[in-house]
């Protein structure tokens, strides 16, 4: 079955102002969503990415140039990703549509090219 990546974009500091009780409530929603996908057999795991902006490597005239990620250009980061299985884009989008992350950022759905 085709595999899709859900890339979770969010603004840096999105959750910083929540009270502890609110944070737990938000987490429970993510947890319930993840469990629902697992119960359907669609969840193939996920990982959180580090909050630093990473490194960019580009070949320039003087060899490989290494720079920090787009620090000032954008305060948006990819918080992490989920890997899911779905028949096609429509099904993948339907599964992502219930994700509580949509209240806190946006989701990019990409198919893993296995052909």
């Amino acid at each position: 079955m085709p595999k899709f990546m859900l890339l979770l974009h969010e603004a840096a500091g999105e959750f910083a102002a929540l009270s502890p009780t609110e944070m737990q409530a938000v987490f429970e929603r993510y947890n319930a969503w993840g469990k629902a996908l697992a119960d359907k057999g669609a969840m193939r795991g996920g990982e959180k990415l580090g909050d630093e902006h990473g490194r960019w490597l580009k070949r320039g005239p003087k060899g490989v140039q290494i720079s920090d990620g787009p620090f000032n250009e954008s305060k948006e980061i990819i918080g992490g990703y989920f890997a899911i299985e779905a028949d096609d884009y429509d099904t993948a989008v339907a599964l992502a549509q219930d994700c509580p992350h949509l209240d806190h950022g946006w989701i990019e759905v990409r198919r893993v090219d296995a052909t």
């Binding site: 502890p20 987490f27 429970e28 996908l37 969840m43 959180k48």
Partner: protein
Amino acid sequence: MQSASSGISPLVDDLFRRESGRLVASLSRRFGVARLDRIEDAVQDALVQALRRWPFTGIPDDPVAWLRRVALNRTLDLLRTEQRRGQWVTSEPIDAPAPETASSAASPPDAGDDALGDDDLRLLLACAHPALSADVAVTLMLKTVGGLSVEEIARALLVEPAAIAQRLVRARRTLAEADEPLAIPRDAAAAVPRVQLVMQALYLMFTEGHAAAQDDAVVRFELCAEALRLSRRLALHPVLGTPELDALTALFALQGSRLDARADDAGIPVLLDAQDRSRWSGALIALGAHHLERAMRATQLSRWHLEAELAAAHVLRPPEAAADWPLIVTLYDRLMQLAPTPVVAVNRAIAIGFARGAAAAREALDALQDDARLARYPWYHAARAHFAMAAGNVIAAREAYDTALAFTASPPQREWLLQRVQQCGESG
């Protein structure tokens, strides 16, 4: 990689709020109350990390230990950054052993029952710092030990949220500038003058748990249980314990005994008269009765005695007996002399209504009309509505219920009020 579905076991209700209070307490004990603002930031960061990481990794096997480790590391990071910037002058390296170890040469290793063992008990007493005004100290206790948000504190104290935020800023500045950097009293005797303020804070913590206005659950049981636990520990403390603390503990236990019965299975509030007494907690009633008895060694009755008596008037009466409303009115009359708060005044008016009828209730409620603090208090308006309805004045009842709804955020409480509004419609 762990599967995202492995952490399906739900977290303990209220884990984040409870741990935020405990973490701030234990880290303040270790690094000093003067660093409270950085410690609170670090704890908040740890909770945010949990919220952002656990959806991907699943809940760790020991979530509490995970939070502790992350919060400690984050505190050390923040303090080191500050030290490098030279903002922070101290003779004590931040990686020094915790104060309790460092001071063990000065005091016997086992200080016995007089020691203030619990971190949160010590932090509570530290917040009751003599340099802080009572309002500010109570606000700080609710934030740090209670783990309440600014909004929740604002509601508990009937004060605007902006004013609460200001108080917290002022409190942290004062504590950071205080002469004694580690303001936690080392021995219990030094803490005695601070207990009054702590009692106020515990009372508000319990009340907020009881009202639970912003939650979907009618009762945030954890908050009430925490207030009861801390109050009981103080009441039984050989140096700090007083009859007032016994009265406060009795009040919490007796009120707490009915928590389960205050909502039906759908979470909708159930009025006292309609409550299923088999859902009251016998263990808590017994605990309350025990502390009420201990409280009677007092030479003078405090407001906590009166409030505990009020709770007992409902809980300790035999099932077949009706509530003794004239006695309840008398208790409220005396309570108004000791603690003339707007909320007590509203409850007194309600008791008058049950003792003497709707007209008397209306008169008592009208007398409170000009109190600005009650304008946003939903249960004042709900009480007006109840007795307007009892007097057959459907239009006034409906209006007052609408006003109450405008100031209620909690879904179950809204549902309850909407049911009342509907009854107005059926009679009108």
